[in-house]
Amino acid sequence: MKHVLDDLTAYLDGVLGARERAQVEAHLEACDGCRASRDRLTGALSVLTRLPHAAAPSAAFERRFYERLEAERRGRPERPGLRDWLTWRWAAPALATAAVAAMLVVTTSRQRAHERALAEHLDLLENYEVVASVGAVETPEDAEVVAHLDQLEGRR
């Protein structure tokens, strides 16, 4: 005969299926030991219904909670992620603008350095109207060639 001790609490709590319940009841009819165990469990469950209610929270409980909540709010975003979202909402376009501006500065400064190099050799161009008129001088190397055109001509 298989005892049903392990199922007694579930049986008393009414959570067994119909078949299991029928098996437990059939066993209880025949087993004094399991019936005694059932009665002890039933007694304990009945006693627990007479347990006095827990003491009410102190008067400060609610006030103290809202104080803690307020203190915590001051130390963290108002709503989860809201501060982050606000930060990125404004920071992202600003960062993009800054990146574009930086690229422009770098590009412009490189262009200006090139122009400055050409300007340093402008005096050389004054004596070579033909070269200057075709706009062939674009780089410092071109200017160097122009500076020595007379030598080139001398070789011809």
Partner: protein
């Protein structure tokens, strides 16, 4: 979950309605103190723990899924928080001292007429016996017992709260109830044993 008004309040709070959160606190705050008290058996600490639970609820509102019952979500936070509290080292010594104070009552010292529920002395003794019982139960059994016997949650909800299976809950509740039957025997009358 349209049939759960607390779930609706939680959804409203997720949408930014702070009054909905206040309603939840007003409705469940007191019960939460009682729940936490079953674990720490200290009124002031139970109040702090209950506040912690609602602060966590406030913080983790975004994680709440309306498909779950609000009470399940709340008790999950509370159970985890209370069990963590019990695991803290500093609590171990304090609990041992309390356990000595809350030894099971000697049946011979109980006043006559223990079957009378109106008797305040018996009620206090019964409260002490249950506290002593809870103190002796292993953590998970204690949580399952409190949720089933003192908070009235069904097995499937306890399984959801403790993140375990219904058969596991069945076993936890059974073992704790067997322990309760032994601890509370002095309070049981003949009428209790036939009250099913």
């Amino acid at each position: 979950m349209a049939s759960d008004p607390d779930a609706a309040l939680m959804v409203a709070f997720q949408g930014g309605d702070e009054r909905a959160f206040r309603s939840l606190f007003e409705k469940h705050g007191r019960a939460m103190v009682s729940f936490c008290h079953h674990f720490v058996r200290d009124q002031a600490r139970a109040e702090e723990l209950a506040q912690d639970v609602f602060l966590k609820l406030h913080r983790s509102a975004a994680r709440y899924q309306p498909t779950a019952r609000f009470k399940t979500f709340l008790y999950r936070i509370a159970s985890n928080h209370c069990l963590n509290e019990l695991r803290r080292g500093e609590y171990a010594g304090r609990r041992a001292a309390q356990d000595r104070e809350l030894a099971p009552p000697d049946p011979d010292t109980l006043p006559a007429g223990t079957a009378t529920p109106e008797d305040h002395t018996v009620a206090r003794a019964l409260g002490g016996a249950v506290e002593a019982l809870l103190a002796r139960l292993p953590e998970k059994q204690r949580a399952a017992f409190v949720l089933a016997r003192l908070e009235g949650l069904p097995y499937d909800e306890i399984a959801a709260v403790l993140e375990t299976t219904v058969p596991a809950v069945k076993s936890l509740v059974h073992r704790a109830t067997v322990a309760a039957a032994a601890a509370l025997a002095p309070f049981v009358s003949a009428e209790d044993e036939v009250a099913t």
